[in-house]
């Protein structure tokens, strides 16, 4: 079931984008599709959220971008993780796991 974008927790989108780019560099739509794929279709990130986030993260130095050729043979902008981005992914993942564990424990308690 798709989750409405407004319900995305603060920071969740950033973490998803980092995760999506962990294995390979992707263009904007690639990131969007990869997120849908790894969340089992729960998140469908729209352009209005995706591109501001990508640009913001690039300015923060987590991502780097380069122009390459897309699968439709078109010039497209590809994003990849920087060293800082990888560190950020690592830290954020740990933080997220702690939070979700805590949340899960809390919710299981009767």
């Amino acid at each position: 079931m798709p989750v409405p974008q407004t319900d995305l927790l603060q920071g969740t989108l950033d973490l998803l984008i980092l995760k999506a780019l962990a294995l390979q560099e992707l263009h904007g739509m690639g990131v969007s599709r990869r997120i849908a794929q790894i969340t089992g279709g729960a998140f469908d990130v729209k352009a209005g959220s995706l591109f501001p986030a990508l640009h913001r993260m690039e300015q923060a130095g987590w991502l780097t971008s380069s122009w390459g050729e897309s699968e439709t043979n078109r010039r497209a902008k590809f994003y990849a993780l920087t060293k800082t981005g990888k560190k950020q992914l690592h830290n954020e993942s740990e933080r997220w796991e702690r939070i979700s564990l805590a949340m899960a424990t809390a919710l299981r308690t009767a």
Binding site: H27, G28, M29, K46, A47, G48, F51, G61, A76
Partner: protein, 908 residues
């Protein structure tokens, strides 16, 4: 960090490229999405449309990407600035009036603050200036005094050697000396300083060294001199080889040992010292007046300074100095020079004298100028307030006119904050423009003020620079920001509150009833403030007129005066005396000169020689105050046109060595010291700082009371002695009664004096009327500036009133049209508009009147010959203001009465 800096750089300076790339990126995204859709079987046309729809508006995406860019606030500021400049340029009349208003307000304030800062506020240019204090003795000193804040040399030594309060003490004495170097002769101001002067002040040398304690240990021993930096630059062209060379001071060869650090011109601000000489050279620098080697305790002449030890407050220091002073006074009270001339009750009063510490930057000029300059700053502050009120009014009017535009922007969901921001940016632009123009105005004003205020020869001496310094700039920027914030924010906030529907629906609606009343209050305040300023101007102008009309009490139209001092050119007592005798004869034979008079003390220059007197007739009863004394030549009274009312004048026969035998006194002197008796033949004596004296000066004549020190004074008790009976001969003030306009003789006189003796320069040659004009310079400054400010204020109030009335009429055009259509007369319309105008003026006047009545007493001491609540001035100012403002209201009223009903009704 680096990446975000690079991003900021790119965002600010490579926006076009970024935007192009963003376009391409999004285009690629759309194509990819539609390709995906086509793969899922959607037709190519639908695929692209769906992709666009799913994206949710390409432009919105772009906008939100731009919003996350670093420095986005800078971006919007730049946009606001561009928009602001465009708006202001589109409305040049508004921009011009607003900027001119602000420029006047800020300019006037900057000019006044710059003067106040430099003349009154500034501290000494030394290390920790606030720790340096002047040490003075309060109360009657029972002796001779050279100027305010002075003590005797032995008193200085006692305080210096016995206090635990100061880390160091020094003293100084200002003197005029003749300098000779490379065939050039001039008189310059010098500072005689103790050896501790430079070390305690913490002032170093730019070249060579400063005066050290060693240089000032033994009287007459070290002939050394330190030059001030600016004097070294101007007089010696900054010649670095000057150190070690010899210059002549009062014809004594003195070695230049150094140049003081730049910016330091001695401790008397406004009266810069050109050279510094050890005070042990006193005898050489001030011929025939010593006070140092003979150590008189009844002659105070040095100004003493101390640097407070760390952690010691002024109050603590004063308290700890009192016992030291008291023991000195007790010792002095037993000395014959004190007991010989005083009574037991004098002694009691004397022992109550105390030490008082003043800020080290204090001096007489500052004391005189403090009140007038603060007053003028207060007046300019009121003008700035008025200017701001006008600006606020203009902005309100403009923003009201733009309500519709603002409403449109609100309707398309521009944030209120953004709108306030943008309106503020505009105001800031306006006030920056105003400040820049105002600064230029201030520079010009100060230049002109200094020229008017000071005569040409004094202007060179008086180093007040028209160039504002950092503090003045800070003042301007502060004033500017405050104006922008307060008076821009008010209308801006109102603007952002605009009711969308109301404004869009109907322009003639009652949308801004609140604005009108705010604007009315502003105009009311303007009228009140203008009345205040007009009343002030009236009072000051009438004070000046009173003083000018009254004059000193003798005819001044054909009088020339100058000062001359042969003793500075190395003339001995005998030579000086014969110089004056020959000069007297020489000038009497000058064509066009009716009469020549000499006096040792100058007329109307604000100072005088005062000395306690004694006599057998008033022995035992201490007489309040000391009479004003002067030595004069034979034809002095005749030259000035002062009649002798009893007895005789001083004649050439009143000669004789070293002791005054005869005196002419004025009526106040006679009344005060010989009440109910014929003053002729009465005797008195002058208290001497060195020895007891007996009363053997005989009163030979009486003159009517005339002003002496300045035009404001009630003539004090005065006594005149024959100068040839004096003991010492130094400088002389010469007065020439001419047979025609005195100015035509000035050049001839200069030439005659050069031929008479080229070694002795003529100083301060001017007419008596110029001298009087100079003595009234403070009054003239205050009167002329307050008149200008009053006029400016009235103009601003009139503009404000016109604006608000014209605006009301415009808003009510339809209503007026209906009234006229229904048969109202033009006079009814005029009456309707004018009723409101007069209501506004009336309210303003009432407030202004009460304010003026309440504040009038504050300026009592600045006035002369009239009551601070002078009814004529008050009523006159009110009438002038009411007339001007009434006329300003009448124009739009007349305009309203010519409204054509059909046009008015059709238009709206």
């Amino acid at each position: 960090m680096i990446s975000s800096l690079r991003a900021l750089w790119n965002n600010l300076f490579r926006r076009k490229k970024l935007d192009r790339e963003l376009d391409e990126e999004l285009q690629a995204y759309l194509e990819l999405v539609s390709a995906e859709k086509m793969r899922q079987g959607v037709s190519p046309e639908d695929a692209y449309r769906d992709a666009r729809r799913d994206t949710g508006g390409v432009e919105q995406v772009k906008e939100s990407v731009r919003d996350v860019r670093a420095g986005v606030w800078l971006d919007s500021l730049a946009r606001d600035l561009r928009y602001g400049v465009r708006t202001l340029a589109k409305n040049p009349a508004f921009t011009l009036v607003a900027m001119a208003t602000l420029a006047l307000g800020i300019g006037a304030n900057t000019a006044m603050f710059s003067l106040l800062d430099q003349v009154v506020l500034r501290l000494l240019p030394i290390r920790d200036p606030e720790r340096v204090v002047i040490v003075r003795e309060t109360g009657n000193h029972y002796g001779n005094t050279y100027g305010a804040n002075t003590i005797s040399w032995p008193m200085f030594e006692d305080l210096r050697d016995n206090n635990q309060t100061f880390s160091g003490m020094f003293c100084r004495f200002p003197a005029t000396v003749a300098i000779g170097y490379a065939d050039r002769a001039a008189q310059i101001s010098a500072e005689l300083v103790s050896g501790s002067y430079f070390p305690v002040l913490g002032v170093g040398a730019a070249l060579g060294r400063t005066i050290a304690p060693d240089d000032d240990a033994v009287p007459d021993s070290r002939r050394v001199v330190v030059l001030s930096y600016s004097f070294w630059r101007t007089y010696f062209d900054g010649d670095r080889s000057i150190v070690g060379r010899t210059i002549n001071l009062n014809s004594y060869a003195m070695t230049v040992i150094g140049v003081a650090q730049p910016g330091f011109d001695g401790v008397e601000l406004g009266v810069p010292a050109k050279v510094f000489v050890p005070i042990m050279m006193k005898t050489e620098m001030t011929p025939r007046s010593d006070g140092l080697k003979d150590r008189p305790r009844r002659l105070s002449w040095v100004t003493a300074y101390g640097r407070l030890k760390p952690g010691v407050s002024v109050q603590q220091a004063e308290a700890s100095l009192q016992p030291i002073l008291h023991s000195i006074l007790e010792m002095e009270a037993l000395q014959p020079e004190f007991t010989g001339n005083t009574t037991a009750s004098d002694r009691q009063l004397f022992l109550r004298n105390r030490v008082e510490l003043l800020p080290g930057s204090e001096n007489e000029l500052r004391d005189d100028m403090r009140k007038p300059l603060w007053l003028l700053l207060a007046l300019t502050g009121a003008v700035l307030l008025l200017a701001c009120a006008n600006l606020a009014n203009l902005l309100l009017a403009r923003d009201t006119a733009r309500e519709r535009q603002l409403a449109v922007r609100l309707a398309i969901r521009a944030g209120r904050a953004r709108i306030v921001c943008q309106l503020l940016t505009e105001t800031l632009l306006l006030s920056t423009g105003g400040a820049v123009v105002g600064l230029a105005l201030a520079f010009l004003t100060d230049l002109i003020l200094l020229r008017i205020y000071l005569p040409a020869d004094a202007a060179a001496e008086f180093v007040v620079s028209p160039i504002p310094d950092v503090r003045v700039l800070a003042f301007v920027v502060g004033a500017m920001l405050l104006t922008a914030l307060v008076f821009g924010l008010l209308p801006a906030l109102r603007g952002s509150r605009t009711e969308i529907t109301l404004s869009l629906k109907d322009r003639s609606g009652a949308a801004s009833a609140g604005g009108i009343s705010l604007r009315r209050i502003l105009v009311g305040i303007q009228v009140a403030l203008s009345l205040l300023l007009l009343v002030g101007a009236g009072l000051f102008v009438r004070t000046l007129r009173n003083l000018e009309n009254l004059g000193p009490g003798f005819p001044t139209d054909r009088l020339l005066t100058f000062t001359i001092d042969p003793s500075l050119s190395g003339y001995s007592d005998g030579e000086t005396k014969s110089f004056f005798e020959r000069l007297n004869v020489n000038l009497q034979t000058m064509p066009g000169v009716a009469s020549v008079g000499f006096s040792t003390m100058p007329l109307l220059k604000g100072y005088a020689w005062q000395n306690a007197i004694l006599g057998k007739d008033f022995e035992g009863a201490p007489i309040e105050g000391q009479p004003v004394l002067c030595e004069v030549g034979p034809d002095y009274f005749a030259t000035l046109g002062i009649p002798i009312v009893a007895g005789r004048a001083i004649t050439a026969q009143d000669d004789g060595p070293v002791e005054y035998k005869s005196a002419v006194v004025n009526e106040t002197f006679a009344r005060k010291y010989f009440p109910g008796r014929n003053p002729i033949g009465q005797r008195f004596g002058l208290v001497n700082e060195m020895k007891p004296v007996s009363p053997d000066i005989e009163v030979v004549g009486v003159i009517p009371d005339k002003k002496y020190r300045d035009l404001r004074e009630t003539p004090p008790a005065q006594a005149f002695f024959p100068y040839f009976q004096g003991a010492k001969f130094r400088f002389m003030n010469v007065y020439l009664r001419t047979q025609a306009d005195p100015r035509q003789f000035e050049n001839e006189l200069r030439e005659r004096m050069r031929q008479f003796d080229s070694h002795v320069p003529v100083v301060g040659l001017r007419t008596m009327n110029e001298q009087i004009g100079f003595s009234l310079r403070t009054e003239r400054l205050v009167a002329s500036l307050s008149a200008v400010f009053g006029g400016l204020a009235t103009l601003l109030a009139v503009i404000g009133l016109y604006g608000v009335t014209a605006y009301t009429v415009m808003r009510r055009t339809r209503e007026i049209g209906i009234r006229l259509a229904l048969g109202a007369l033009r006079s009814n319309v005029i009456g309707m508009v004018m009723r409101e105008v007069f209501l506004l003026i009336g309210a303003g006047l009432v407030v202004g009147f009460s304010l003026a009545l309440a504040l009038a007493n504050l300026i009592r001491s600045q006035l002369f010959g009239l009551n601070p609540r002078d009814p004529l001035t008050f009523v006159g100012s009110a009438i002038v203001l009411a007339l001007a403002a009434g006329l300003a209201g009448l124009i739009p009223a007349l305009h309203a009465s010519y409204v054509d009903p059909t046009t008015a009704l059709r238009n709206e």
